[in-house]
Amino acid sequence: MIHLSSVTKWYHNQVRVLDQVNLDLKKGEFIYVIGGSGAGKTSLLRILATEEAPSQGSISLFGYNLATVSPSTLRAIRQSVGYVPQNVRLIPDLSVFDNVALSLSLAGHRSIRGEAKTRIEEVLGRLHLVQKRDKLANTLSGGEAQRVAIARALVRQPQLIIGDEPTGAQDKENTWSMMDLLMKNNINGATCVIATHDREIVRRVRKRCAVLTAGRLGFEEAMCTY
């Protein structure tokens, strides 16, 4: 499913943000990427989400080497990914509903109009966003915007979920309903890569974890004790 070998990343030929990272993930696995601020979590997830290419090393997703993949296959891969970027990146002048609907409409699988609407509303409901349905994205609070970003990623029922500190701006209640939603997707077969530095989540929802320290993937555990 995911295979990283000796992935190294540096910006502007300066310091190494990622250093010889190796990682293997099977379909349906759930992994935390843990590390302090500046450890390189976001850089790693951006590479996994095909937003950036590694400076060195190779990455393959769904069995395709991203360095040699054709544009149409790359599009298909991207359509199967639900990515929650750390900086959220909603389209500010579209409504919450339209932001989510745009993501769904680009996901490739044709769906009936009414069905798509039901699915969007269901996801919004689970993330306590029903009341915000028609609000413009730029009027939302940080936490609300982050939940919309999660709805936008999950509505497409992705095979790979990449979340960059998705609970970063949430209160307790929303954090747990979000984790609940992620676990449901995971049980249904979605592979999950979640970056976080929230110890409580990691302790409560025990999963495999990888710890990043200064760009190196220090140790991996089957059950996290972070």
Partner: protein, 297 residues
């Protein structure tokens, strides 16, 4: 389609730029429309001026009255022997002898005193009052020379040389008009391409996200194409309204400048519709050229 909802973003995010551009597009298109009309309308006028001439052939005083009809016939033969293939249908060549009596009558209308004085001269009058043949119509270039060769013809005067200056002037106007039309088209395109680039930059966040979601090249381009088209269409609509209400006024004024320009055809109000299509097409084309995306594909 939610992709199309993005097409109206530039109208929300930089409304003034879109409005100014639309107005500019409308104005330039309207101007170009008028110039095209003028340019096309001048064609037949110039063509006619180039072919139409009035030749005045003065008959020698020694020619006797009984020979006049013989001269008239040879002129007809000369002119008719070279029927121009591209002569305008219905434009007949007119050959007529202006006898002294007729000349006096014409003179009488304009200068009655002079006319009376000449008439009082009696038989000597024939020595002063010219007899001439007036040939008018769409004549071949060689007509004046041919008539000159007929025995009994003293002097031949053609209006062709007098028309030369005005034909030259009209040709210059046409030429300048064509350059202006090209200039307007370039200005229109440049402005719209710039706008499309600006709009692409406005869309950059959305384009980056859409690419991340696996959008196709077409889906990435659609918002920009529709934004460009909407500006072009708005401009076209403004031009259409301007044309519909302004063109008659404009044409009447241009035609009033000179009897020559009165020959310009009245422009059709239906042209308005083509402005809309042209506007949309120009907007679309400009957005194809103006599309920029800096994020990696």
């Amino acid at each position: 389609m939610y992709v199309l909802k993005l097409a109206l973003r530039p109208w929300r995010l930089s409304t003034l730029s879109q409005i100014f551009s639309s107005v500019a597009v409308g104005f330039l298109m309207l101007l170009a429309g008028f110039l095209i009309w003028l340019q096309a309308g001048l064609n037949p006028i110039v063509h006619r001026l180039q072919r139409e001439q009035v030749i005045t052939a003065f008959i020698d005083a020694s020619v006797e009255a009984k020979d006049e009809s013989r001269i008239l016939d040879s002129i007809r033969e000369q002119v008719g022997a070279h029927p121009t293939s591209d002569a305008m249908p219905g434009a007949s060549t007119d050959v007529k002898l202006v006898a002294p009596a007729e000349f006096i009558k014409d003179l009488d209308a304009q200068y009655p005193e002079l006319s009376k004085e000449i008439q009082s001269m009696g038989s000597e009058m024939d020595q002063i009052v010219p007899r001439y043949v007036s040939v008018s119509g769409l004549l071949p270039d060689s007509a004046a020379d041919a008539i000159k060769g007929i025995p009994g013809i003293q002097i031949v005067d053609s209006s062709k040389d007098r028309h030369k200056t005005i034909v030259g002037a009209l040709k210059a106007v046409k030429w300048v008009t064509q350059i202006l039309i090209i200039g307007l088209a370039v200005a229109l395109m440049t402005g719209l391409v710039q706008l499309a680039r600006l709009n692409s930059a406005l869309h950059r966040d959305a384009l980056g996200m859409m690419r991340q979601w696996g959008a196709t090249q077409l889906q990435l381009r659609l918002p920009g194409l529709f934004s460009g088209m909407s500006v072009g269409l708005t401009g076209g609509a403004l031009a259409a309204v301007g044309w519909f209400f302004g063109v008659t006024w404009f044409a009447i004024h241009v035609r009033a400048f000179s009897p020559l320009l009165a020959g310009l055809q009245m422009p059709s109000a239906m042209m308005s519709v083509s402005f809309m299509f042209a506007g949309a097409a120009i907007g679309l084309m400009a957005s194809v050229f103006g599309f920029t995306s800096e994020t990696r594909g």
